[in-house]
């Protein structure tokens, strides 16, 4: 693999003479990374990247996403039952955000918004975002974030318009954060334990990774599997709701995440009912409380702060804090049902 970045002079003038580190500068253009095969905007990865999907993905204003991963040549990843896999230095994770013009026929006439890269350098993960240009021929590195209007027709046939917001580099870490270190969020065994339509045919992703020598020491028997939030055949209501909260909230709302100050922990493995929000008073919700007293009131979703914050569009109140301008109606419906059917023990 050719590492494309070069050690260069930074844009910023170095003020402090004690400054010593040589930071790599990353390519201005996405095309320089050599990720895509053929016409870039078709989002087809080169052969050395493996496409993957998550059972329950993060909601991002109804955008569609495609994900690829490139490991250093010959590298293998150790099996890990819980949490994101420990990918070796040199790993590149690619995530494309796009909208189909009409989401009733996905993949046709897509408009790509941004491509986010996570690169595992020797000193940790680095994130960067490339914003696609108007003619969709390439994307440009944008550290300070961006926004643009996008129109699409949703699966119900209703025309939608959203102010799509590209996060700035600091905001990347607002979510990709574990103990103040940049971390990937999605690719865990549980999240990838599901089928993917590879060019070679449909196959379980863990099987594929195992047979292609990417994942080693995979135990026999049943492996952890995250429910698909909107597919009841993959898990009961509780399993699907917890999978949804885990991917949409727990990147911050966990004991080592940026929202640890709230004491609200929404990981799928949290067992303390108060930490999960049940009859828990808010700490710093401000007007995000929506006039409600507790994060989750069992049996009463409409009196629960958690649901209020999923339903409001007001900045400063809405959750997640970033990447959501449109309410995820189907996600709201799931959590509403979960809270309403919850028994007060």
């Amino acid at each position: 693999m050719v590492r494309i970045f070069s050690i260069g002079l930074l844009f910023v003038i170095l003020i402090n003479s004690s400054f010593k580190t040589n930071k790599p500068t990353y390519p201005e253009n996405l095309s320089e990374w050599g990720i895509f095969e053929g016409k870039m905007s078709q989002l087809v990865p080169k052969k050395d990247l493996v496409p993957y999907a998550l059972n329950t993905p993060l909601y991002s204003d109804y955008s569609e996403k495609s994900r690829f991963i490139r490991l250093p040549k010959g590298a293998k990843v150790d099996y890990k039952a819980q949490g994101v896999l420990d990918f070796p230095t040199g790993t590149l994770i690619v995530k494309n955000f796009y909208y189909s013009a009409d989401q009733r026929s996905l993949g046709k006439e897509i408009e790509v918004m941004e491509t986010r890269l996570l690169i595992h350098e020797s000193d940790g993960w680095k994130a960067m975002t490339y914003v696609w240009n108007e003619d969709q021929s390439d994307a440009v590195l944008e550290i300070a974030g961006d926004q643009k209007q996008v129109k699409f027709i949703n699966p119900q046939g209703i025309a939608q318009e959203v102010r799509y917001v590209v996060p700035n580099q600091n905001q990347c870490k607002g979510c990709h954060n574990s103990n103040d270190k940049m971390m990937p969020i999605g690719p865990s065994v549980a999240q990838m334990n599901g089928d993917y339509k590879y060019s070679s045919g449909k196959q379980n992703q863990i099987d594929y990774w195992k047979t292609h020598g990417i994942l080693k020491s995979v135990p026999n028997g049943n492996l952890p599997k995250a429910a698909v939030w909107n597919d009841p055949s993959t898990g009961d209501l509780n399993a699907r709701a917890r999978a949804y909260l885990e991917i949409n909230c727990a990147h911050c709302h966990r004991s080592d995440g940026p929202a640890q100050t709230s004491g609200l922990y929404l990981t799928a493995h949290e067992t303390n009912p108060t930490a999960l929000g049940i009859n828990k008073t808010p700490v710093a919700a401000g007007n995000g409380s929506g006039g409600n007293l507790y994060d989750i009131v069992p049996g009463d979703a409409n009196a629960s702060i958690l649901l209020y914050r999923m339903k409001t569009k007001a900045p400063g109140e809405r959750m997640p804090e970033l990447g959501r301008n449109l309410v995820h109606e189907e996600g709201v419906a799931l959590i509403q049902q979960w809270i309403n059917e919850m028994k007060n023990k």
């Binding site: 402090n16 400054f19 300070a144 974030g145 100050t261 828990k280 710093a284 401000g286 400063g316």
Partner: protein, 393 residues
């Protein structure tokens, strides 16, 4: 885009001439991302509008300096993204000075996991009539070590104007807080000096709280002294659900479940309901499930303060205010204690063990009521000052 960036030794002047507001946002944010250790980012005089949070992440020794809180104004009135005006996280040695942050949609300035954060000559405000639509916190350092808030002002917060939570080694001095629900609040924090401040026309002037279910469990060594805490009678406008929504209108100082708090040499004047309150978490009526949480106040020392109040009944319409108002009318004592003690800290005779007592001595116009809250206020009564004559030394 016309962008002239001038570099001087040790400082970067942020030139905004001829830029659209969107470009200002992008340009300043870019500078914050690229700033290297030792950088001083200078903000010129003027009003600048932002639609997204300005953030500083994983930096050391950065100063953001405006021309003064009344000259450099960062307005977030049109904010569409981000949950605070300014956010500083995971940094060391950061100085914010000489600007104001207006009308942020959430909190005005949040700093988390910062070692040594200084706010000097900074103002956070929500313009217009104070109301629940305003953001929660003005100054919001949380889980920081080394917090200095000096010569700052906070106005209009629907929670606390100056709030320090789950932090260590804190100084709040020479600052003003007004028209907030809580003027100054120290919550689950250790080693705090709060002095030479003026807290007025808030719902409550100064709060010292220990709350459950948080990462940093316990505060302590909090000294509140030489402050002017007066006329905190602004009707409570906190959104329901927030703990400060239960602060009675007309509160000077409120100690909630805190330990190791010394209140001395303050002027506590014309706070018309509760000049100073000392209560356990039980009195909030909220459930407690955190097994590691200590809901009782203890080791409190209140001395050499001056209490005064205008003639009249308590102004608060909340249950606590109504209760004392009904019973004591114009003669409501200055100091209200709920009487709920941690039995583990009492000896066989029901007296405080060494170092744990609630001491209230040598205050001008001192008067105390024990609510007897644990017995449904059965024996609520004005109690002799001598009952609080003890020492934690």
């Amino acid at each position: 885009m016309k962008s002239i960036v001038l570099f001087f030794i040790g400082s970067v002047v942020f030139s905004l001439q001829g830029l659209s507001q969107a470009d200002v946002q992008k340009k300043l944010q870019k500078q914050l991302i690229l700033a290297e250790a030792g950088a001083v980012i200078e903000l010129p005089e003027g009003v600048f509008e932002f639609t997204n949070t300005l953030s500083l992440e994983e930096k050391k020794k950065i100063t953001i300096r405006g021309k003064g809180m009344n000259k450099t104004k960062l307005s977030f009135k049109g904010q569409t993204d981000g949950a605070e005006g300014i956010r500083v996280s995971n940094c060391d040695d950061i100085i914010l000075e000489g600007f104001s942050v207006q009308d942020a949609k959430g909190d005005a300035i949040k700093t988390m996991h910062v070692n040594n954060i200084t706010f000097r000559d900074v103002k956070t405000e929500w313009t217009g009539t104070p109301g629940p639509q305003n953001g929660g916190y003005g100054f919001y350092p949380v889980q920081c070590d080394g917090v200095m808030i000096d010569q700052c002002e906070a106005m209009g917060a629907s929670d606390a104007g100056i709030y320090v939570g789950q932090s260590k080694n804190i100084v709040v001095k020479n600052s003003k807080a007004y028209y907030n629900v809580a003027g100054i609040e120290i919550e689950n924090s250790i080693h705090a000096e709060v002095f030479n401040n003026e807290a007025y026309q808030n719902t409550g002037g100064v709060l010292v709280f220990d709350l459950p279910d948080l990462v940093q469990k316990k505060g302590g060594d909090v000294n509140v002294h030489d402050n002017n805490i007066h006329d905190n009678n602004f009707p409570n406008f906190a959104p329901k659900g927030n703990i400060v929504a239960s602060v009675p209108t007309g509160t000077g100082i409120l100690i909630l479940a805190a330990k190791g708090v010394n209140i001395f040499k303050n002027k506590i004047i014309n706070n018309q309901s509760v000049s100073t309150g000392i209560i356990s978490y039980f009195t909030t009526g909220k459930p407690i499930k955190d097994k590691l949480y200590d809901p009782y106040p203890s080791a409190i020392s209140i001395y050499d303060n001056q209490f005064e109040r205008q003639v009249g009944r308590p102004v608060s319409a909340d249950p606590l205010g109504m209760l004392v108002s009904k019973r004591f009318k114009e003669n409501t004592p200055h100091i209200i204690y709920d009487g709920i003690k941690n039995k583990a800290l009492l000896d066989a005779n029901g007296n405080w063990t060494a170092g744990n007592c609630i001491s209230i001595v040598n205050n001008t116009n001192q008067s105390i009521v024990n609510l007897d809250a644990s017995n449904l206020f059965k024996d609520m009564a004005i109690v002799p000052n001598e009952m609080f004559n003890c020492t934690n030394k």
